[in-house]
Symmetry: C2
Subunit: 123 residues, 2 copies
C-alpha cells in the first residue's frame, strides 16, 4: 500500500516539475476549481488564478532539481513533500525550496492537486 | 473560513512546538493509531511508534524557532506547512527545517495529526 503511495508521489513529482520547467502553462491541467496554492505566503484559490500566478512568475526559464520526496497516504488522497533547488538562468546560486502537495483522486483514476504550498528556504 | 484555518494552524503550531521543546512525551496526545510520521525519510506508523521515535531523538534539550506557517483547508481537515530552525545546545549553528502536518478533526471538536513529514534543509 505505502509502496504504491511512494510510486504515485514520485511519478507526480517527475511530471509536475517536468511540466513546470518545459511547458508551464500545462500545469493548469493538474488543478481544479477547488484547488489552493500558497506561494511564498500568498494564498490563491482555483485553477484559473493559480495558473495565472504560475505563468506570471518573474522568470521564464527555470530548472528544478529534486533532493527528497516523501509521500504518505492521507484522508482521501496522498500528501507529497518535496525539497530541492531551483536554478534560474540569471542567478549564480541555486535557490533552495520546499513544497507540499495534497493529491486527491479524480473520477478518471488520476489525481489532482487540492493543496499546494511553496516556500523558498532562506538562511 | 480561511481565516479560521489560519487560526487553527497557528494555534496548533504554537502548541506542538511548545510541547516538543518542554514536554516532548506529551506529543503522543496529538497522534492516533492511524497517524504517520516521516522523519528524515524514515516512515513510522501509529502513535506508539511515533511517540517512541520522538522521545528517542539523540538530543534532550531543543528549541524550535518558527519562521513561516502556511495553512489551507483540505479534504476533511487542514494542511499546515512550517519552516523554521532548530536550536540544539551542543550545536553552534541552527539547523533549518521544514515540516508539514495534515490535521483531521476529532469527534471531540479538536484535531489530531494524521500526517507529519519532517526534513532538515541542507545546502
Amino acid at each position: 500500500m505505502e509502496e504504491q503511495v511512494d510510486l504515485v508521489g514520485n511519478t507526480f513529482v517527475d511530471h509536475y516539475y517536468h511540466l513546470f520547467d518545459n511547458d508551464r502553462s500545462s500545469l493548469a491541467s493538474l488543478y481544479q476549481p477547488s484547488s489552493m496554492l500558497t506561494f511564498e505566503g500568498q494564498k490563491i484559490l482555483g485553477v484559473d488564478d493559480i495558473s495565472a500566478k504560475l505563468n506570471q512568475l518573474p522568470f521564464d526559464q527555470c530548472r528544478h532539481i529534486i533532493s527528497t520526496i516523501d509521500s504518505q497516504s492521507s484522508a482521501g488522497g496522498i500528501v507529497v513533500f518535496v525539497s530541492g533547488s531551483l536554478q534560474l538562468p540569471e542567478e549564480e546560486h541555486h535557490l533552495r525550496f520546499s513544497q507540499m502537495f495534497h493529491l486527491i483522486p479524480t473520477l478518471q483514476g488520476s489525481f489532482f492537486v487540492q493543496n499546494d504550498i511553496f516556500r523558498l528556504n532562506y538562511g
